[in-house]
């Protein structure tokens, strides 16, 4: 039982409009504490276009540039250049994009920026569907999950894209997965991104109570189960070298313990559960193999 040292400043002030129990709000709050106030945040269209509150208010205590859905990587490239030109070389630029704005519509912009190794921290807040528009599927939605565009009798067929592999293959200096149930790990990784120049990518899994059909109090617990079942392994890619965190190397739990707590998987029967387990096992093997090389 450890006490976690967390910076005290609240850069996500209360009064914001996130749903009760929003996993992303936990993540944003912790990450902004770690990033500090000398940061410019770029937010492409997502839940976080709404959560900070409508004009004339904002509960984010940093400069925030709300941007078009597609444009996380490009807008951040522009703001980074402007800050450098004006002499704000120590000011961080961070993008907070959803899975839609990263895996799908925003992929081009992110890929272009990563290829240029633009100097920003890109955080993909992954709640595994287009939540802001009402839970439609994205390419980050896991297979067999219910969404409004993949109903229970015809759930999503294809597996979730491996965005970490995609980003790693851009030869960026740092990429990492993180999730809210492991705040020490998350904060350590954010600290690392602050020390590195170039494109740094953080894939943050954020449980979403309405979209995952879970009670609001379960967000942190499910985040933990995602890691322990190896559905969402914690690892880093630093200059091409993989490090899998201890939490993911220890004995895993069956995916069923993770899936059965979520309404979006409640339609799964034993066949579906087995299929999911096989998929998780296969992806884990792939990761381990890649890590070994």
């Amino acid at each position: 039982m450890k006490k976690i040292e967390i910076p005290a400043s609240e850069n996500l002030a209360h009064g914001h409009l996130a749903c009760a129990g929003c996993g992303a709000a936990v993540g944003m709050r912790l990450i902004l504490k770690a990033l500090g106030e000398n940061t410019v945040l770029v937010i492409p269209a997502s839940c976080w276009s709404i959560i900070p509150g409508p004009w004339p208010y904002s509960s984010l205590r940093l400069p925030v540039i709300h941007a078009g859905f597609v444009t996380g990587g490009a807008t951040a490239s522009g703001i980074r250049a402007a800050l450098d030109i004006r002499g704000y070389r120590d000011t961080l630029v961070a993008v907070w994009a959803g899975d839609g704005g990263t895996f799908d519509i925003g992929l081009q912009s992110l890929s272009g920026a990563a290829e240029r190794n633009e100097d920003f921290i890109y955080i993909c807040n992954d709640n595994e569907a287009y939540m802001n528009t009402g839970t439609q599927q994205s390419s980050a939605t896991p297979s067999l999950a219910w969404t409004t565009t993949t109903p229970a009798h015809h759930p999503k067929e294809n597996p979730k894209k491996d965005i970490m592999a995609i980003m790693g293959d851009h030869y960026i200096p740092y990429a990492a997965t993180a999730t809210i149930a492991y705040p020490d790990d998350l904060l350590r990784k954010i600290e690392k991104t602050k020390q590195v120049k170039g494109t740094r990518f953080v894939h943050l899994l954020s449980p979403c109570p309405p979209g995952w059909k879970i009670p609001s109090e379960m967000s942190v617990k499910l985040s933990r189960l995602s890691v322990r079942s190896r559905v969402f392994p914690l690892y880093e890619i630093e200059e091409g070298k993989y490090t899998i965190q201890e939490e993911s190397l220890k004995e895993k739990i069956p995916v069923e313990q993770y899936l059965r707590l979520q309404g979006r998987f409640s339609h799964l029967k034993s066949q579906g559960l087995e299929q999911f387990q096989r998929m998780v096992d296969d992806h884990w093997e792939r990761l381990v193999k890649r890590a070994r090389c």
Binding site: G15, L17, V26, I180, V220
Partner: protein, 587 residues
């Protein structure tokens, strides 16, 4: 900052949507359908402890490095941590929730550690130290009969309540069964002396060599507002076999008393000890140390032995022979030796003690020879000196609640009033009687008072609220293992106290068990879940999506910011120890 912005003309607006203020005005607390709040609850250890110790709190102090503070906290309830840490049967450890993950916390070891720590810190010298007098003694006088654990505990708390207490003790020394019945290799005499001294330092007068009975009738004691009788159970039970009252057949309690009072005993070398309780084991292990060869005869099996497991294990290590399913039927003399005719037993159906009844096996008699026999088959209380008419049953005085008897003004506790004969129970009964006596003298309702002091569902009480009014009390709900969040705990090894190695161990009556040290005590205390008790792990603060957990200026003063808390319940789930409660929001 913080207020709503009112705009009624376009000219008041900037030409682009640049934010002008924050969302502090938006009190999202109105969204709530359930409300979390901090509420310490009762851990199973606290609930189970017959002495009413606040175990979880003293362990927390050890974690925070405040060993002396931990000791002080125990002494808010129990003046005998050094003793309990050594000889208590620790039911707390049986109920400890940690046991469901790996092993229960070694609570007794922690209690002993802090007592020893304080002992070393405050000096071991008892004699010659000036007895401090508590200045205020503005209340009535109370008499206590018996300076054993029950009597001394009652006296201790009454003195803290500023009563003028006199304890009457028949023996030359205070301590009761702690002095006479428990050998010093389990409980060193200096520990007992020091803890008794501490009680006397509060102004309690112990008058030794005074026996209640025809010479001093209880009902004749005058000038006392109340009398607490805790004379113990010191009379050995008889086996009711022929030859029991012959030469070289001793009674176990008398034997132990003689040893503890430093008397010479002529016994052995071979000794047959009859009985399966702590007394029998204490007798046997003492005999080993005196160079004898004891053999214990017990009519049931090892599993049913009432003696503490640890004691039995150590006894066997030391060479005590144990014979099970054996019952003596005749003790004879033969050529200067004792010859015990024994019968083999087998276990039949379950009896009123919940154990299987031993029944004789036909034609199984055999003989054992020894120089001496010691009978340690249980003890009874001497009730003869109680006033006529006081209600008794089955060898104990009948009492209610805080020890009230049928005789007004006379209270009873400890072994004389209960068949649950442990040190911890005695301490607990002394505490309850202190409250009952205080209420009786002031004319208040003792039932109500005791009810308000219950730990969990009782019957133990905590006197902390009496001496520290205004402090928040624990919710009596006892936290179960299922209510804890195991995500935050990993299996860890239990720290163990060390035993003195053989063969040196049996060369004298010095203490067998060595305490934990500061490092091992801290590690072991660190394994404690702190069930139902906030220990500032800050999970709630870390995981709140709405920054609505406020850390108080003082320690352990977390609060929920109800203006903004949306009632998601994450803090409730992620509190590893159920220190947060959740209830429906009333609107």
């Amino acid at each position: 900052m913080g207020n709503q912005i009112i705009i009624d003309h376009e000219s008041q607006m900037p030409y682009i949507p640049v934010s002008q203020g924050d969302m502090e005005w938006n009190k999202t607390g109105t969204w709530r359908t359930q409300r979390p709040f901090y509420e310490d609850k009762t851990p199973p250890c606290n609930a189970t402890c017959p002495a009413g110790n606040d175990i979880v709190s003293f362990i927390l102090r050890i974690v925070n490095g405040d060993f002396e503070g931990a000791w002080g906290l125990i002494r808010e309830e129990n003046p005998f941590p050094g003793i309990c840490g050594r000889v208590c049967f620790h039911p707390c450890e049986v109920k400890c929730n940690r046991g469901r993950l790996d092993e229960p916390i070694a609570i007794h070891a922690l209690e002993r550690f802090v007592a020893d720590f304080a002992f070393h810190l405050q000096g071991q010298k008892v004699s010659g130290k000036k007895k401090e007098r508590v200045s205020k003694k503005n209340k009535e006088k109370v008499a206590v009969i018996g300076a054993g654990p029950a009597g001394m505990t009652c006296a201790y708390h009454l003195a803290r309540l500023h009563y003028d207490v006199t304890v009457f003790e028949s023996l030359p020394f205070a301590g009761g069964v702690l002095r006479t019945g428990i050998p010093s290799y389990r409980l060193p005499k200096e520990v007992l002396d020091w803890e008794i001294f501490a009680i006397e330092s509060l102004g309690v007068k112990v008058r030794t060599g005074v026996r209640a009975g025809p010479a001093m009738r209880i009902e004749d004691l005058s000038g006392y507002g109340a009398i607490f009788v805790a004379s113990g159970a010191n009379v050995s039970r008889h086996l009711k076999v022929p030859g029991e009252k012959s030469r070289h057949v001793l009674d176990g309690l008398a034997f132990l008393k003689a040893i503890n009072l430093g008397e010479e005993i002529n016994i052995g070398p071979r000794v047959i000890v009859i009985g399966g309780g702590n007394t029998a084991i204490d007798v046997a292990r003492s005999l080993i140390r005196l160079g004898n060869h004891p053999t214990i005869l017990y009519r049931r099996t090892r599993e049913e032995m009432p003696a503490f497991e640890k004691e039995v294990v150590e006894a066997v290590e030391e060479g005590v022979e144990l014979k099970f399913l054996v019952s003596p039927i005749h003790i004879q003399d033969k050529k200067g030796l004792k010859r015990v005719e024994c019968q083999r037993m087998k276990l039949a159906e379950i009896d009123e003690t919940g154990r299987r009844r031993p029944v004789p096996v036909r034609d199984s008699a055999f003989f054992l020879e020894a120089e001496s026999v010691i009978v340690a088959a249980g003890e009874e209380a001497d009730l003869s000196f109680f006033p006529r008419g006081i209600k008794k049953r089955d060898g104990i005085v009948l009492t209610q609640g805080g020890g009230t008897t049928t005789f007004e003004g006379i209270f009873a506790g400890g072994d004389v009033a209960s068949r649950e004969r442990t040190v911890a129970h005695a301490i607990g009964s002394g505490k309850r009687s202190a409250v009952a006596i205080d209420c009786y003298i002031r004319g208040e309702d003792s039932e109500k008072a005791l009810q308000s002091l219950l730990v969990g569902n009782g019957p133990s009480v905590s006197l902390f609220p009496l001496f520290h009014p205004g402090r928040p009390s624990r919710n009596p709900h006892v936290v179960t293992f299922e209510e804890l969040n195991m995500d935050y705990f990993e299996r860890m090894r239990r720290e163990k106290e060390t035993q003195y190695p053989l063969p040196e161990r049996i060369k004298g009556f010095f203490e067998v068990t060595s305490p934990l040290n500061e490092r091992t005590a801290s590690e072991e205390a660190g394994r404690c879940f702190n069930c139902g008790t906030c220990n500032e792990c800050e999970n709630c603060y870390t995981f709140c999506p709405d920054a609505s957990i406020l850390k108080g200026a003082k320690s352990l003063s977390h609060q929920v910011d109800y203006d903004f808390c949306k009632g998601c319940g994450i803090c409730f789930v992620e509190c590893p120890r159920r220190a947060i409660s959740l209830k429906e929001e009333s609107r």
